[in-house]
Amino acid sequence: MYLESRLEFLRANQNPDGGWGYFPGKGSWMEPTTYAMLALHGTASDSTLDRAWKLVRSWQLADGSFRPSGEVKEGTWVTSLAVTLASVRGVGDAGIRASVDWLLRVVGAEHNIWTRTGSFLHLIKAKLDVSHEGWPWREGNATWIEPTAHTLVALKQAPGQYRGDEVNGRVRDGEDLILSRRCTDGGWNYGTPNMLYVDLPSYPETTALALLGLLGRDDRDYPGALNLAERFHAETKSSLGKAWLQIALRCHGRDVAGPEGSGWWQARDVMLAALEALGHPEGNYKLFCAAGKS
């Protein structure tokens, strides 16, 4: 019942151009469109999803990257979402190959000689392993846990013909980056686990996304993280955090309660509706799990 209400909300709020906005009546963006398409995969008419996919493809730039919306002219981290969508839809054309190549080209800005030298000389006020490349929200910026996790999900699902040594190498290095940035409490912060030499706490949503990025990696590499995620799930008030935790925990084989639908803004947040639908016990969370089977 709850799942159907979320899916109905998504169907009712598809924009005429085929995409979804972050909120009803707003312009279409890649992020809510991706999650809505994944949530509706297999449940909506082909034409609903085909229209959305056509819009997504219209946002691709010549360099292979994808724009976050029709208004924005620059490609960003959302390229990873487009690659995940392409894999789910079984699309593996030259355009998507170019997107994978773009993802392979992009690295966190701190992975440069200056920052590595600064780190070696202890000039950076954080315990930060800058030997890994990872992925930023935007080319030329620092590596962050969320875009790194999204890109790992995308690359692990990328069609077999793309899977070469370079992809495998970046995936392994991206996983190592996530592992290197684990907080002392066992989960993940948005950025680093430490700043000004003070340990930072982890958050529900970032811990969930880090665990999605690590799918397929032996969980002995991150002992206790799944238990912490379960505790976060039981305790957090954040609907967004809870939704991501449901997806991640289910993909890791943990059984968790379904969404409760108590948030006051849930009636108007399209992205949240899609993520809650995906994380439902009967939802499409398995579309993320495929990343662990590569």
């Binding site: 963006w29 910026n141 912060n189 948005y190 680093t192 000004l196 003070v198 706490p201 008030k237 992205m271």
Partner: protein, 325 residues
């Protein structure tokens, strides 16, 4: 979790590591600009607690500043960064609620609230924690998450041919920076001008808005104020500020004031003097001295005098040299 642990939370982490390095690149103007012609008015209003009649106090302050908002679309921009019940990170909900009532009473055609936090993605959950929904009538109807608003480009901001801002921000006739009076471990102080970081959309630039840190924190503060300063007004919540290792992990510091004005450079300079910080040593204010007034003699102080309310804020070691002598 200790407050210090909670403190630097995430955003500040990588941001700080790189942003701090960038900030050191700043080429400070050797001579402080005299600023625009004339003087700027800044009003200091006493408000000893959040249960005071803030509506009356704010109305007094706005009238003193001569601000006319009739028929204008007003966007209130609070400082909502992170929630920690042990300290005072955000603009207090009572100040925002009072501002909604004040600008409505003064004849604004529309009063909205908008914020785009720097690293936390669940803006609405944080707003709930900060009691915004409970304290502000119709909050869910008038609030916009600026991180996820639709956007439009402006030309030439931040060294980029096009830079995107939320339509709610671009469409406002008046942006009211409802800032918190805090120290800041990268900028020295965070007041009405730095509060504009929250208008940069995460949907385009990510969480945090890393572009701003690479461009330089002081440079970004000033660029944002060049962009929006002319249609802005400031109300700084100094009823209880934050000292020490702000903007997240500092300690509550009661001052008992609201500081208001149309010249945000002058408002921030006045706040600095109240906090015991020399604004002429604060990098972003030095950079901004051509768009507003930093010099004490170019600011007409109304309401309370600085001397009557000055409250020395604790500064971290890196900023001890900012102390007003």
């Amino acid at each position: 979790m200790t407050r210090r642990k909670f403190a630097l939370l995430s955003g500040a982490a990588v941001v700080g590591a790189y942003g701090g390095v960038q900030a050191q690149k700043l080429q400070k103007p050797s001579k402080l600009s005299d600023g625009p012609a004339g003087k700027s008015n800044v009003t200091i209003i006493r408000a000893r607690s959040y249960s005071d009649d803030l509506v009356s106090r704010m109305l007094d302050g706005i009238r003193e500043c001569g601000l006319d908002v009739r028929g204008k679309r007003v966007l209130l921009k609070p400082n909502l960064v992170e929630f920690d019940p042990a300290t005072v990170i955000n603009t207090n909900a009572a100040v925002i609620a009072a501002a909604v009532e004040v600008f409505t009473r003064l004849g604004a055609s529309e009063v909205k609230i908008g914020e785009g936090p720097g690293h936390r993605r669940d803006t609405l959950d944080m707003a709930d924690d900060a009691r915004y929904r409970a304290a502000i009538p119709n909050f869910e109807r008038i609030f916009t998450d600026l991180n996820r608003d639709d956007v439009s480009p402006v030309q030439g901001f931040g060294g980029e041919p096009e830079f995107y801002f939320p339509n709610t921000v671009l469409g406002a006739d008046l942006i009211v920076s409802l800032a918190k009076m805090k120290t800041h471990h990268w900028a020295g102080a965070t007041l009405s001008m730095k509060n504009f970081f929250g208008v940069v959309p995460g949907s385009v630039y990510g969480w945090p808005k890393n572009k701003l840190h690479y461009y330089g924190i002081p440079e970004s503060i000033v660029a944002l104020n060049r962009q929006f300063g002319k249609k802005s007004f400031a109300i700084v919540d100094g009823i209880v500020g934050m000292e020490g290792n702000g903007p997240i992990q500092g300690t509550p510091k009661p001052v008992g004031v609201l500081v208001l004005g149309s010249d945000l450079v002058a408002v921030d300079s006045t706040c600095c003097r109240i906090m015991g910080i020399d604004p002429e040593k604060v990098s972003y204010l030095r950079l901004a001295a051509d768009i507003g007034h930093v010099h004490r003699e170019r600011i007409e102080q109304r309401g309370e005098s600085i001397r009557a309310v000055e409250t020395s804020f604790a500064l971290i070691d890196d900023f001890k040299d900012l102390r007003l002598v």
